[in-house]
Subunit: 380 residues, 2 copies
């Protein structure tokens, strides 16, 4: 392999694929980035077996020559050092030459770098995905849906399936659900698919989806999502992002969500978040995060937390409406703040079915987003 490439394009591709590299890999070749070059362009691949990312740089783009190929070929370069050095090369052009035994020379301006390359034949091949089930989602919607659900997944590796966000689809609707044993976040959207398109039990690691989010473009381009038996492929314009579907059966969470409420509250989201944030600061010092909500006859609520050592925070808030039984209820303020943070609505609706039943938070004007938190059992 011998070629010259514009540094900017090489660097962007390296930054994208390097997100798949794990520092903890026990397979030495997976600490490298695989480079393949031919007349069409250059393909970079990185993988930690759970995630694989492939990025393609075309030889020419909109009449701009990006790569000048002199000899095609492949090599695997250790990502340590390579990822950083390319970003810091002095000139806008980078020459890459691979010789016998994969010895690689990189030249740019006054710099010459010799790298010990590895045999690309030893690099695992990427899963082949049959395109049986495919949906399209606008990039910014996909980012938002990931943000609104992935924070709620479990971080406990003893139940791996719950560390994933569940993707389910039926009746032309796609739903993402994140859930640990104390809270649940779900977001639904219409998708343009055949009426009989269904997805069930597709759980994708929340951490992986957050990595994907970082390379999703901000512009409103369409992302193809292709579901195979064990893998999901996210297809951006020049990037392929493969991820494994988590093993196991995702629990049925539908029964957690009440169909009607004993008490309903409509309140200004930001004012509630600010008040709970102050109560959280104190509850955090107690390491419990417990905050108490008390509803009053005069259409106000009181948010409070206390610490025997430090003191007490009390917040009085007006509500827009409060109907049903007046409750006293305690919950994890951190979970409530997480839920409020991803609801992009001026007013929110909170539904209660009793002091020991799940609390349901939604935007006031929409049903496509739902946040659930379980209350704490406290002695008043």
């Amino acid at each position: 392999m011998k070629l010259t490439i514009l540094k900017e394009y090489l660097n962007d591709s390296i930054q994208h694929v390097s997100k798949a590299i794990s520092n903890k890999t026990t397979i030495p070749i997976l600490s490298g980035i695989k480079i393949d070059a031919d007349a069409n362009g250059m393909t970079l691949t990185a993988s930690d077996t759970d995630i694989s990312i492939q990025s393609f740089i075309p030889t020419e783009l909109n009449e701009l020559s990006i790569i000048e190929l002199q000899r095609k070929g492949s090599v695997v370069l250790s990502s340590k050092f390579f990822v950083e050095i390319v970003r810091k090369l002095p000139a806008s052009q980078v020459e890459i030459e691979v010789n016998d035994h994969f010895q690689t020379t990189i030249r740019s301006g006054s710099s010459e770098i010799q790298l010990v390359g590895l045999d690309p034949e030893e690099y695992p091949t990427l899963p082949s995905i049959e395109e049986n089930r495919r949906i399209q989602l606008p990039s910014d919607l996909l980012k938002t849906m990931i943000k609104q659900t992935s924070f709620a997944v479990s971080t406990n590796e003893s139940t791996p399936i719950l560390t994933g966000v569940l993707w389910s689809a039926q009746n032309g609707k796609l739903k993402l659900t994140g859930c640990d044993r104390h809270r649940l976040a779900s977001r639904e959207t219409q998708i343009d698919v055949d009426p009989d398109f269904q997805l069930s039990n597709v759980s994708i690691s929340g951490r992986t989806l957050n990595e994907l989010s970082k390379i999703l473009p901000d512009q409103n381009t369409l992302i193809d999502v292709i579901f195979a038996e064990n893998q999901v492929l996210f297809q951006l314009s020049s990037i392929l992002f493969y991820t494994r579907i988590l093993d196991g059966t995702y629990p049925d969470t539908s029964k957690l969500i009440p169909q009607s409420y004993q008490t309903e509250l409509v309140i200004h989201a930001q004012q509630l978040a600010n008040a709970i944030d102050r109560a959280y600061l104190l509850s955090r010092e107690e390491k419990t995060n417990i905050v108490k909500l008390i509803m009053r006859e005069d259409q106000t609520i009181e948010i409070s937390s206390s610490s025997s050592e430090l003191g007490k925070v009390t917040e009085q808030l007006d509500v827009n409406s409060l109907t049903g039984e007046l409750l006293r209820i305690s919950f994890n303020s951190k979970y409530m703040l997480d839920a409020l943070k991803v609801i992009d609505s001026e007013l929110i609706h909170i539904g209660f079915t009793g002091a020991m039943q799940p609390i349901i938070i939604r935007p006031e004007e929409s049903n496509n987003l739902l946040q659930l938190i379980l209350p704490y059992r406290t002695t008043n």
Copy 2:
């Protein structure tokens, strides 16, 4: 104590003094901030015994009423939680009321906070400083001098005196010196003092000076620096910053600095820094940071580093001038980068007195800044 104060002023003062609070303090009352209020204004004090910071908020400033005092008094409030909650209070006015047993109530908008206060009588008194020796320095110059020297102090607590920056003065010049066993950084400036003003063996913790730097104003205001027997006081407009002088005798470093050079090099600072940065990236993977500099007859230098596992970086650089014996010399690239980073000059002068002798780096046009690093002993 009972008063109402503008949140913005209270918050600024808290942020300043809280820098003196250590999480590791074993004296419970020192985890608090002392508040004293009288007709003149409010004084906040925090201390970890090494550093003490006092901030004064006047009742009125430029005809703006900042504090409305109803009852004077004092209290100590645990800084945990207090520092953060004040920043997040909902209204621009904050009411503070201290009752029996130092029980403190803070009210702002819809929030009411009860805090357990401590007895201010138990708070240690600040050192009294006799103003025997005082200099004045512009705030931005003091910041620069700290930045140019504090990075070079030792982090090894077994020689506490070397964890400090040495302040010395004679012949109308002030000099700051930071030094560990491998490098030295010094910066000199003219000061306006009596001809017989002298300072020696005043070593102030580098970490403390960096904390001071964060609260020094960016504007070019004059800072008073007052030297007492065991303490130095930095006096900003409304802030007093006390720090302890480190115990012990600072070693004489003057003999380290050669009076003449065997080899002299003038080179573009940024180009050299970029080349060493790339070589550093590789040397860092080897955990040695060793970079080699080879001088050539054709007025170029080669910077290189190598790793048996990863490869080699070679950089060719033109120099502006190179006189004397051609050397091959190895050094710690991280130390060289640290030194180059604080030299604000397009061209730098590097002086050598042999492959095993100190390397001296200065701005080409000035002698007030000097950076010294010891070379590595390497084979070949």
